[in-house]
Symmetry: C2
Subunit: 312 residues, 2 copies
């Protein structure tokens, strides 16, 4: 099934303790699309400036991402500059230049409006609502957001949350959105705002999935995975969007959102994110094969499975 | 099979954002024994002062822990005072009074020397060596340690590490011991020091198991679990020792250390630790049933299992 993603296509300047890159390809829609495209067709809506390098357009095309919704405006492309410490935790933002992204109002091309899966990357919740009004009747809608919108546009965000099926956010965002530190309690408060499926991304600590109904038919609504341990991390930029791409991409390939596919989607998201952090920009994520993905999915299962324990 | 544990029996004064307790029962050997006793017979060696309340002795006896190796010396019992912040991360130590524990030299009673499983809780590595010299030919030996000994007695610790089968330590201790931040690399460096099995405890981020041989017979040597998510944490004190108790206890009940039992042991350790953090001191850990444990083991499996993913 088709996936529509609306989000940023950007240039990133990134420093880690080991290495730095300048104006590399980045952006939430870029990472999402590249990851999701391994599983299903992807249609991208976004905006870049007239400084956006042709090689990056070629990259997106080479990944067979449908970029008919990527417009070019006069002005600079969204540019983010950040740096990571030795623990590769949250980045420190040095500078953000929105450029042409500041006036972005997503227009969904006619031929994209029938998309069955819709992913609203981290943009102004008012724009996310505009997108939802332009699509026909998608099977599944998913949303990302961030602290900036949680504190800055809480009302618009709540309106958007009431309309989507899935919310993917990180741990601190979930805590901030709910106003509760405990993740179990925070998750239930966030789900009361609308989304029947909530994924909380925890970086090196893995991911949590809450899925309604909590306990119907004996199926637990809580699923929990560790992160895929790597012997080296190069650059975590885009890991959250890549996770979302693997997650939504897998669901679109499965064709439905149920208590089994949604767990597998969390594993797919975790695995795709693990590829992404192994290089800067889209280097690794954009050059793996489906066979590489299958191997790591198998390894993920091997690293997390155990035989049932009966002590009685 | 029988388990011998050598470690501290202490009094803890603990403050959390919600509640405080004064001079409650604590100590590494106490938490370990209480958890392990749900799975196998436990023999405890330690020391308390003549101020140690009789009710705590009664508690240990009521849990059917063999305390013939618990001696009483003139002077105060080991007393630790600490406090936790709202995130229930590492405790801040306010005061440590070793009391009679300062001169502790473990003497293993004759009838304890045939123990098949030996757990050396976090004490001076020189004392851990003394214990190993006093036991006959145990099937499995396991060790805990801490930053204090890693920096203070590195040579004695390395001698001890070369003699044990299993090391259980937390994340920062593994990094410090190896001198490497990346946990995958740190684990391999630590195992090169001796232990064929390494458990890295990560608190709310779960636990990692490394088990030699890494890949023989197609069995992966790396196993990874998330923490059991709870809707409320009361007091994390003793969680690491409780994990070790569930881990070693489960192995002793299984009767051997192999690539299957050691994974199940990590799950058992995680589950026992999850009970412990739900109350102060031994309140919850000391009052659950084996049926409570089985239910949570089942829930742990339900929360972490997923069907294999085939994308080809």
């Amino acid at each position: 099934m088709n996936i529509l993603v609306v989000g940023s296509v950007a240039l990133d300047t990134i420093a880690t303790p080991d290495k730095s890159v300048k104006r590399a390809l980045g952006g939430s829609a870029t990472y999402f699309s590249t990851a999701a495209r391994y599983f299903a067709p992807v249609r991208l809506v976004g905006v870049v400036g007239n400084d956006f390098p042709e090689e990056h357009v070629k990259f997106l095309k080479s990944r067979d991402i449908d970029i008919k919704g990527l417009t070019t405006e006069t002005g600079p492309t969204f540019h983010w500059q950040g740096e990571y410490g030795p623990d590769f935790g949250d980045a420190r933002t040095i500078d953000t230049q929105l450029g042409v992204f500041a006036d972005f109002h997503p227009v969904i091309p006619e031929q994209f409006r029938d998309s069955q899966f819709v992913f609203l990357a981290n943009i102004d919740p008012e724009l996310q609502l505009e997108v939802l009004e332009q699509v026909n009747d998608p099977l599944v809608t998913a949303l990302d957001t961030m602290n900036y919108w949680i504190t800055g546009k809480p009302e618009a965000l709540k309106k958007t949350l009431a309309k989507v099926d899935i919310l993917l956010i990180n741990e601190t965002e979930a805590q901030m959105l709910a106003g509760i530190d405990n993740l179990f309690q925070a998750a239930q408060a966030v789900m009361d705002m609308g989304p029947g499926t909530l994924v909380i991304k925890r970086g090196g600590s893995g991911a949590l999935l809450f899925h309604r109904p909590y306990e119907s038919g004996g199926e637990p609504g809580l699923f929990s995975v560790p992160a895929f341990l790597l012997d080296k991390i190069s650059d975590p930029t885009g890991a959250g969007d890549t996770f979302a791409g693997g997650f939504v991409g897998y669901l679109a390939s499965a064709g439905s959102l149920n208590s089994e596919s949604v767990r597998q989607a969390v594993v797919a998201g975790s695995v795709m994110a693990s590829f992404n952090v192994q290089s800067f920009s889209l280097e690794r994520l954009g050059s793996i094969s489906r066979n590489d993905i299958q191997k790591r999915l198998d390894e993920f299962a091997a690293r997390t499975s155990f035989k049932p324990i009966k002590i009685e």
